[in-house]
Subunit: 444 residues, 2 copies
């Protein structure tokens, strides 16, 4: 990815960051980079995620999915970091031809469904929509105990059994070294992959966690890792030379100057899930100690007709991160004899989308609202690998600058215990606190 | 809808609002309510939206869609307020049985697709996925000139013609009294409906703009309007007696105390689009004069594994609005002999989801983070009508309290002119400003 932080400068925007401030910040970036390189070299918890481009073995993943490589549909059962990376890759690459092979063949058209919630009506509808006898199951949970994932997996198994389909022939497990899912994989001799040690879920897209789905869909795993490796090569001690650090440092600097919200707005439908993945990465890594930007998922051009009014004229507490794609398929807009629309007939949808982006970027700059442009050459395996790795590196850098513990998520535990207690899964004081709710009800 | 603002009280949360403050604010609510009632009585711009439950004629809408009532799929071409209301209703009610008739028949299963972006690859994929000869077109633009909508409509017409399907037999137009779309409807004698005067797009869900799709899908239009009318009846001069005003006043008060972000988190997949609709309503109505809360779309339980860390331990700048549903279909979790998961086997997915909600709500309260609960009895036409109307009334009330012009969106115009200029649709100084971009590029 390339990054343009021109519209975040104090000469353009308020809040904005001056060149002099960026140069001073660059000294801290150099120190942070040293810390990151050391963490990677020592394979420390979290930092190890940045080693995935060299650690992940595509052959191992392909071997594990081989029994279901011809599946018409893939049902991934996971939540949070066990789902969003896979969904980001699968949704971005739907219909994209592989890059490294030079083949003109599209990816194999596998339908991908992500069971990442326990809403009963929705789960039932998803299951009913799938041809179970042609569907593979990809169940992902590091601990093997995640309540939503395991509940859904029990439901899915049951649905397969009810339909007379042997789920043990169609299930791939990705989990840790031990736990209920690991036991289950052993008992039924299921193909299984390991969630890599030292890699938190939200940083695991470039491991088996994110790549099993890509493998079943026939995407080019090597190109994903090559794109990430190229981004890894660009990590350096200066934000002015490294797109990932430029992004991480600029967002940190703007947050400190009042831009507590980071609206991520891809101008590509295929990257809508990426914005969700980014939101988890950013929120769960940096949202602690009363620090951290709030990520907001947006989409161009659609949200120009929804959020732009606020971004341009609301409180000066936002950074907008645009994500643009240089090349892709296009489609002509047919000509029309309606005068007021004639100008559209000389264009393509892609040109319209590009003009909408340029106009929106300029409209924020003209109103002095900070924004950053992240550019991809295309939406393909190589560029996507670079984007995911680059944003992870940006996040790790930001975590160093904030001085937070980027790789933990302690605030999530309270609700997990309370949930378990409420369902009779043990004694937890958190569950008792639920009953003490303060009410002030207003009813119709 | 019912509302519980107990967890927004200063006795629970920081920021929070004291009962004494709420009582003082209630005097301003009484004044605002008078203003709103006067605006409704005089059918003033914007306030007229709150009259829709009595103004919208379901028979007229059903008559217009009659020629395509049996369509297998409905393609809605619109953007922003011309799409989100229809999508919210259609997505919420997918698979829901009508309420007022007491029938056990499900809605008719029409597939709904919303073409609300101009991404060329995505538009082509959507079109290719539809059985065009069985697809109806619902094109919506008040002005009839919205670039994205008209460009897409030209593309859609062309695709139908290429497939040998007569689009003039399958298209319903919803637009203003004049403009290119109105001319086109007249020229081809298309069934057409009018975007009601005085009703901004984001407030038009309960007019033809939002209800054509519901009608084609066989949903109960009367029940939608009855639910809205019941909410309208509840509008009163006190926030302690009116759920909509309780919500609007509480969010306003919390924003003033530092909660500049409002994360809307339905615990129902079918209400995910509602969160998008709410985000437009809130952002475009209140985001002006450097005021306005930033709406964030979240989803329970999924985002517990993504955003909860930030909500509970990040900056104290957020309100979380939970949206819960009392009744709905459920599904048992099968029993398992795995010890650590045995507790799940005594439960249902619905019970798990409810426990996750209660745990998350309590976990925020325990950390002193303000949150509000909005409760629906079910997801059906009646409750949904009440929810949409209630949130619109809440927004209008908040607009009065902020003293902003709730019903305009002037900051969107700049980018529209620039886009048009960039595509050669006329001379606009905004388009020239685009070329003056300040660059600070960091490349790999």
């Amino acid at each position: 990815m390339d990054v343009d932080i021109g519209n975040a400068l104090a000469s353009v925007a308020s809040p904005g960051v001056s060149r002099a401030s960026l140069e001073r910040l660059d000294e801290r970036v150099a120190d942070a980079h040293e810390r990151i390189e050391r963490g990677m070299a020592n394979r420390e918890h979290g930092y190890e995620a940045l080693n995935l481009p060299e650690r992940t073995d595509p052959d191992e993943i392909r071997a594990a999915v081989d029994p279901v490589a011809d599946a018409e549909a893939l049902l991934t059962v996971g939540i949070g970091g066990s789902s969003l990376g896979a969904a980001t890759i699968a949704n971005a690459l739907e219909g994209v031809e592989p890059r490294s092979t030079g083949s003109r063949t599209e990816s194999d058209g596998t339908e991908t469904v992500f069971l990442d919630n326990v809403d009963p009506a929705w789960v039932s509808r998803k299951l009913a929509s799938l041809p179970l006898e042609e569907t593979a199951i990809n169940v992902v949970s590091r601990s093997g105990t995640t309540a939503e994932t395991l509940a859904n997996f029990l439901v899915v198994r049951d649905a397969f059994e009810s339909a007379g389909v042997d789920w043990t022939e169609r299930t791939i497990v990705t989990t840790g070294d031990s736990g209920p899912l690991r036991d289950l994989a052993d008992r039924h001799d299921l193909p299984s992959l390991k969630v890599p040690d030292g890699v938190p879920g939200r940083f695991s897209a470039l491991s088996a966690v994110g790549m099993v789905a890509a493998a079943v869909c026939g995407h080019d795993l090597e190109a994903l890792l090559e794109g990430a490796a190229a981004e890894r090569e660009s990590l350096s001690g200066s934000l002015f030379e490294c797109p990932a650090y430029a992004y991480g440092a600029t967002t940190y600097a703007l947050d400190g100057r009042g831009a507590g919200t980071n609206a991520v707005m891809p101008y590509a439908e295929s990257l809508e899930t990426f914005a969700e993945w980014f939101a988890q990465l950013w929120a769960e890594s940096l949202g602690k100690d009363e620090l951290g930007q709030t990520p907001v998922r947006a989409l161009g051009a659609t949200d120009q007709h929804s959020q732009l009014q606020l971004y341009r004229a609301g409180p000066r507490d936002k950074l907008v991160t645009f994500l643009t794609v240089d090349d892709g398929p296009d489609r002509s807009i047919p000509e029309t004899d309606v005068d007021d629309l004639a100008y559209l007939g000389d264009s393509t949808l892609g040109e319209l989308l590009a003009a909408e982006f340029e106009a929106t970027e300029a409209s924020l700059a003209a109103a002095g609202r900070p924004n950053v442009r992240v550019e991809l050459e295309a939406v393909d395996e190589y560029e996507l690998g670079g984007l995911l790795y680059g944003m992870e590196a940006a996040c790790v850098l930001a975590g160093e600058l904030y001085r937070v513990n980027t790789f933990e998520q302690p605030a999530v535990e309270w609700a997990k215990k309370a949930t378990r207690g409420l369902l009779g899964g043990g004694e937890f004081e958190e569950a008792e606190a639920v009953a003490e709710k303060t009410e002030l009800r207003v009813e119709r």
